[in-house]
């Protein structure tokens, strides 16, 4: 089993050289790509500025569709983040060794996705400059947030998630930052990496304490895989809107999050693996296992869809029945609904075949389908419920504005910008972990 995780079991020095190459000798086009996406990200900042100065009315929202694109984007991005924590913390605790080569990659993705996600709850507010009123701080007026509202829980969940993810990612980076400090060609770079390496000395004592601390943070991070998206799902399920008010949401959202997160890891990893020639470290076994995760979570998500509709039918509430059995499959957003079914339930079934599971191209295509499907799923869930609330007089279709679309594209650009920066300056395969994995394997072979 373990033998397939690393294809070339090279000595430490060679491993180090190979894994440092992306940082030490980056591809020539990378700088240009960073610049392009950096400039494109300005779109996001321009539109955010426009929204804040003019009013959230520049979006397509209306009454009844008081939430739409922004919250869809929020849930989508935060869901994408889930794979990182899952791979790093959950699989670490389960001692799944194959995770080592992709965990930093996934963690970075998590972090950058949370950055995008966090933007939306702030931005969608009518008066975002008062966002801190959602935070329980000792106000002189002794006004507290309203703890019965899931939005207050959301603030706690997201800030916790951001903090722990950052901490976890950064702690994992420390030995490699120290390595970069030691290997960097110029004094300036050595100093910069040196600051971030926090005086790492590589001593046995440091390593043993580091291991304990890293394990502890992983322990803290693991419940977040379940809790964060459960809390996010309560933004909907505590409401009494037909289509939102559903106890299945927490597990369904968590499964959906891991589903979309793994898809995003694949979307980013497959090109990177090819470009940097890392087939030796990110092997077919990785692809295979991640493909299996996709199928598994796809089945959970599909099950949730069926159960949701079934319980709406079984419950007999006419308003629920209307949303699940008419408004979604037949209403103004039926295209979104059926696209969701195709992307999330049908397309991933292709991965039952091992040949497709181990084919980078097939996986890449499936991962794109999944991302589209998961975005549309959140959109459908939010908007088709709001457009068809109980009073028919308030029914109104939602049409996004150009600004809505621009902000969504802007976050994708900004995400890619951050990600390319990460690829450029930080070794995205954890060198120290790979070395220890190699040694373990050598030891296993030797024995």
């Amino acid at each position: 089993m373990t033998s397939a995780v690393l294809l070339e079991n090279a000595p430490d020095r060679e491993l180090t050289e190979a894994l440092l190459r992306p940082v030490m000798a980056p591809p020539k086009w990378l700088g240009k790509a960073i610049l392009v996406f950096g400039v494109a990200s300005l779109l996001l900042f321009a539109l955010v500025g426009y929204t804040i100065t003019t009013g959230v009315g520049v979006w397509g929202n209306d009454i009844p569709n008081a939430w739409a694109f922004a919250i869809t984007n929020f849930v989508w991005w935060i869901g994408i983040g889930h794979a990182g924590t899952f791979i790093s913390a959950f699989l670490l605790l389960l001692e799944q060794k194959w995770r080592a080569s992709i965990n930093r990659f996934a963690e970075a993705m998590t972090l950058f996705a949370i950055v995008q996600a966090g933007l939306f709850p702030l931005l969608h507010m009518g008066r975002p400059w008062f966002f801190y009123w959602l935070v329980p701080y000792p106000s002189t007026m002794e006004v507290w947030p309203q703890f019965r509202s899931s939005l207050t829980w959301d603030v706690a969940a997201i800030t916790t998630y951001l903090t722990v993810s950052l901490l976890f990612w950064y702690m994992g980076l420390l030995p490699d930052l120290a390595l970069l400090r030691d290997r960097a060609p110029t004094l300036r770079k050595r100093r910069i990496y040196g600051v971030f390496a926090l005086g790492w000395d590589g001593s046995m004592k440091t390593w043993s304490r580091y291991r304990v601390a890293y394990g502890l943070v992983a322990g803290i991070a693991t419940p977040l895989v379940v809790s964060v998206h459960s809390v996010v799902s309560m933004d909907f399920s505590i409401a009494m809107l037909p289509g939102w008010h559903s106890p299945i949401f927490p597990p369904y959202f968590v499964a959906g999050a891991i589903f979309s997160g793994f898809a995003m890891v694949l979307t980013l990893m497959i090109p990177a693996r090819r470009i940097y020639g890392l087939e030796a470290f990110i092997t077919e076994k990785h692809l295979d296992l991640m493909g299996r995760m996709l199928v598994a979570t796809s089945l959970i998500v599909a099950y949730a869809y069926v159960v949701e509709s079934f319980s709406a039918w079984l419950g007999g509430d006419p308003f629920e029945r209307h949303v699940y059995l008419r408004a979604r499959p037949l209403g103004p957003y039926h295209v979104a609904y059926w696209t969701v079914i195709v992307c999330n339930c049908i397309v991933p079934q292709a991965l039952w075949w091992k040949r497709l599971r181990t084919s980078p191209l097939a996986l890449f295509v499936v991962s794109l389908f999944v991302q589209l499907g998961m975005w549309l799923e959140r959109f459908m869930l939010i908007v088709s419920s709001l457009t068809h609330d109980r009073l028919p007089s308030s029914w109104l279709a939602y049409r996004p504005s150009v600004v809505d679309a621009g902000i969504l594209c802007g976050t994708i650009f900004f995400f890619l910008f951050l990600f390319l920066c990460f690829l450029r300056w930080i070794p995205f395969v954890p060198i120290s972990e790979m070395k220890s994995l190699a040694r373990e394997e050598r030891a296993a072979e030797g024995s």
Partner: protein, 926 residues
């Protein structure tokens, strides 16, 4: 820097002084109320105006006035915004440049031997005795002058019908509370006309059964397009406007046969009627006859005189006169000599026989038939003057323009349709150069050599009648808003047998064979005099829910035949003109009818009204202003319409949302309303609930959907306007809206209206989802918004099943499109962008009443607090009060078997409840 400097205005350099002794009628912070009258087609409607430190902010009905009874309509509620209209003319101008009064005086002055040859005066219809005297005075000074009364809505056909029936002009009054069966022929008596508010109040009294055993009146409507009255009817027949005369005649024949008892021998009175309508008319004729003595037949102004005369005859034959219908002299000045019309003026203009033209009020250039071509002809007159609220189309055709004082800036006199006199008093001084019609008439009568203020004119006029009692009666009438015992005595008129016979056998013009264009006054902007009013433009039409436009209304069948859908542009061509209008497929329009509202398509200086909608007057001819043959062709173009409500069906949710039944059903099943009223058992105890709990009950049986409450709420609560694009995006801000659903299939549907406002749930779903406690519950049962605390997550709106919460997507109250801030009610916060808002149960009124009661050392009484919607409602369908006290009217209403809660099964215990809509159709039809 510039902003900061503008924001913090410095104190004036000059010394200013505060009140040393405060004027007795002004207490800062405490509004005062003044009684006056607003005009509907010249007739008075009593009003009480709320004024804050000299700034009028709200108009209410005057309960002492017979034509208000405390209620108000859309027009009265919106009039306050006209007062602060930024586009109102402020200066006296000559061809657009500001001049002094003296310039105009010398230009218009008459030589002492001028007999008024070539002097024409155009006046709106007026009931003012003072204006009457002044017109006489002008005629005395200039015997050869011609006075023209003109208004597109003047009751010309009504008066001609009275002349046809009785030989002279009388006003007909109907007491709808005394009628068991009412037939409305093309008549929208519930919202249109000078007596509409009274009619609506009296009609509603017979429409709300308290118990299943109570009786109800029955309303039959025969009309070409759905009106508020028609949609409130128990039976409604869609016919072309030109078919109604024949229908009326056949009803007369049937009734005559029944009264003579020769139904068996006489020929079938309905032989000439299409078969599809015969059953309806037979049952109707029987219904009228069975209820004789307690019936009323009313006819709309758009019907030709003969239909009015037939209605008089029917009322007579059916014994309505004396019981339900009464008559009195008309207070309208010149009611009996409507010989001189705009057509005569146009002819004189064409012949260059007009040397001096004074147009006082109205906007004839806009509203005249295009064949008169007043715009071109009036420009030829060497000395012309226009007195109007705006420098509009007519002002552009005249040499001088004088701004007209608003009704709330006016001293004047006006009579109600029954003759009741009101002395109008101003709430504030008019803008610099603004004058009243009386002032201008006086100046004209003096050859523009002298002027007299409106106040002095009215005092002088009253002095003639009141003499020694002047001061005392003046004070009393100003305080009450009516002059006691000034109503005209009833007069007796009968339609003699000869006349009935002539009506019965009169040759009627054949009904329109092709497509018929039906013109009608707009439900909101009426004839177009107040189109520049953002509240009116944005108000959804009571029936079609259309905003910011008028549209060619077609039945579904006609639209299908023409191959057009909502928003398709069609070219409508009549003998008078052609225009392009967007189509709106309406429920309940007669087939082969294209209905278009008057009052839109203005061109002029009115920035809001300019270019909104199409000018339907361009299709009318002077001879037939109400209906013509029309050719309608699809152009292929489109214009998106901003319709406030898209889904028109209840989707089978009737029992949860809008309980409705016929009276027979209600009698068969008095427990019609299911268990939505029962308080659900709960583990939770309501915290801090006080004994007093505010609540509201809306009686859907009485509600006509007229929408006066919507504007009243907007005026009271500083509700912003979002514009056409905002409505199209679904961002209306109305705290109170009227949901309108259709029941039935095809074109023959019944409309059900339901005022929808915050339900003030005890366990409000909006409250627990707010992350910052910005919406909370008061101890006395109100769901409150704390604007200062709101960050605008909008979760509350998502979780409100009634979708009554409104969000400030932009800063609607700042900027060039925002209204003059002086119109705002100072008791209500003006909301900034990014915060949620919604109905507060007029909490400012509640708190003020509580303070007043506390200061007076007495307990709060029932009806000490009236919400704005309740106060405005012409049919008294809304009642508000303490539901914790079993003796209040609202608590009594809550014991009705018709009581239900909208979405009551959610268990949120809403404090706003409804009484089921009950209709009373005749069992023989359907």
């Amino acid at each position: 820097m510039a902003l900061a400097a503008a924001g913090c205005a410095r104190a004036p350099r000059e010394k200013i002084l505060p009140y040393v002794s405060q004027p007795p009628e002004v207490t800062p912070g405490v509004p005062s109320h003044y009684a006056t009258a607003l005009l509907r087609e010249g007739y008075a409607v009593g009003a009480v105006v709320e004024s804050h430190e000299g700034r009028p902010t709200k108009i209410e009905g005057n309960p002492d006035h017979p034509m208000s009874l405390g209620g108000t309509g859309i027009a009265e509620q919106a009039a306050i915004l006209d007062l602060y209209d930024r586009d109102r003319g402020a200066h006296l101008t000559e061809r657009g440049s500001v001049v002094a009064w003296e310039v105009m005086r010398s230009a218009l002055s008459f030589s002492s031997d001028d007999r008024g040859n070539g002097l024409w005066i155009v006046l709106p219809p007026t009931t003012s005795p003072l204006t009457h005297d002044l017109v006489d005075r002008v005629r005395g000074r200039f015997p050869q002058c011609t006075v023209v009364h003109c208004s597109p809505l003047a009751p010309l056909n009504t008066f001609a019908g009275a002349r046809l029936a009785f030989g002279d002009v009388v006003e007909t009054h109907v007491d709808f509370a005394a009628a068991d069966v009412v037939l409305a022929l093309d008549s929208n008596f519930l919202t249109e006309g000078p007596a509409a508010l009274r009619s609506a109040r009296r009609f509603a009294e017979r429409r709300r059964p308290r118990r299943a055993t109570d009786s109800m009146s029955r309303l039959w409507a025969i009309e070409p397009l759905p009106t508020v009255t028609g949609t409130a009817a128990d039976h409604r027949l869609r016919v072309k406007r030109s078919e109604i005369a024949r229908i009326a005649q056949s009803l007369l024949a049937a009734t005559l046969a029944k009264t003579r008892g020769d139904t068996a021998t006489a020929a079938d009175p309905f032989a000439s009627i299409p078969g599809s309508q015969r059953d309806f008319l037979r049952v109707l004729a029987d219904d009228l006859f069975v209820a004789r003595g307690r019936v009323a037949v009313v006819v709309g102004e758009a019907q030709p005189p003969i239909v009015h005369a037939i209605a008089h005859a029917l009322n007579e034959l059916l014994g309505a006169v004396g019981n339900v219908v009464s008559r009195s002299a008309s207070p309208l000045v010149g009611a009996d000599d409507h010989g001189s019309s705009l057509a005569a003026l146009a002819e004189a203009l064409e012949g260059n026989a007009v040397t001096t033209l004074l147009v006082l009020g109205q906007n004839p250039v806009y509203s005249c038939a295009p064949e008169l071509d007043l715009a071109r002809n009036m420009a030829k007159v060497p000395r012309s003057l226009y007195l109007g609220s705006h420098a509009n189309e007519t002002a552009a055709a005249c040499r001088f323009y004088v701004p007209l004082a608003h009704a709330l800036e006016t001293w004047g006199e006006a009579r109600a349709i029954d003759g009741t006199l009101t002395v109008q008093q101003p709430l504030r001084a008019p803008l610099d150069a603004a004058r009243t019609i009386d002032e201008l008439l006086f100046a004209a009568s003096a050859g523009f050599e002298e002027t007299m203020s409106a106040h002095d004119l009215v005092r002088a006029s009253r002095k003639d009648g009141w003499r020694d009692e002047l001061d005392e009666r003046w004070r009393r009438s100003l305080r009450r808003g009516v002059v006691e015992d000034s109503a005209f005595p009833p007069v007796t008129r009968t339609v003699d047998a000869d006349r009935i016979d002539r009506l019965l056998h009169a040759d009627l013009p054949p009904p329109e064979a092709g497509l018929e264009l039906v013109l009608h006054p707009d439900a909101k902007v009426q004839d177009g005099t107040s189109t520049n009013n953002a509240w009116l433009l944005e108000l959804p039409d009571p029936v079609t829910k259309l905003t910011w436009d008028n549209a060619a209304l077609l039945s579904r069948a006609t639209a299908a035949r023409l191959g057009v859908a909502d928003g398709d542009l069609v070219r409508i061509a009549t003998s008078a003109g052609t225009l392009e209008a967007p189509v709106l497929v309406g429920h309940g329009v007669a087939d082969d009818v294209v209905a278009l509202a008057l009052g839109w398509g203005r061109r002029g200086t009115e920035s809001l009204a300019d270019g909104v909608g199409v000018n339907a007057y361009a299709l009318a001819s002077a001879a037939s202003p109400w209906s013509l043959h029309a050719d309608v062709t699809k152009t292929g173009g489109r214009r998106a319409l901003a319709i406030a409500q898209e889904t028109t069906r209840l989707e089978g949710r009737d029992d949860a949302i809008l309980v409705h039944a016929t009276l027979d059903d209600f009698r068969a099943r008095p427990d019609l309303v299911k268990s939505t009223n029962e308080r659900k058992r709960s583990l939770y105890v309501l915290p801090n609930a006080s004994a007093r709990q505010w609540g509201m009950v809306v009686d859907l049986a009485a509600c006509t959907g007229c929408s006066a409450c919507v504007v009243a709420c907007q005026a009271e609560n500083n509700v912003p306007v979002v514009g056409r694009a905002g409505v199209a995006k679904g961002r209306e801000m109305h705290w109170l809206r009227i949901d309108r659903y259709y029941d039935g299939d095809g074109d023959d549907v019944r409309a059900l209206s339901e005022p929808m406002l915050c339900q003030h749930c005890e366990k409000a779903p909006c409250e627990y989802v707010c992350p910052v406690n910005a919406t909370t519950h008061s101890a006395d049962g109100m769901n409150q918004m704390i604007y200062n605390r709101c960050v605008g997550t909008r979760f509350c709106s998502n979780n409100c099943a009634w979708k009554v919460r409104r969000f400030n997507w932009f800063d609607y109250q700042i900027g060039p499109d925002a209204p003059d801030p002086r119109v705002h009610n100072p008791d209500v916060t003006v909301r900034e962008r990014g915060v949620m808002e919604k109905c507060t149960y007029c909490v400012q009124r509640v708190r003020r009443a509580e303070r007043d009661a506390t200061l007076a050392g007495r307990p709060l009484r029932d009806h000490d607090v009236k919400t704005a919607c309740e106060q405005a409602c012409p049919s008294a369908a809304i009642v508000f009060g303490d539901i914790g006290d079993a003796k209040t009217d609202v608590s009594v209403a809550r014991t009705s078997p018709r009581l239900f809660a909208v979405l009551g099964e959610l268990g949120t215990e809403p404090h706003t409840r409804y009484l089921a809509k009950i209709s009373n159709p005749n069992g023989r039809l359907r």
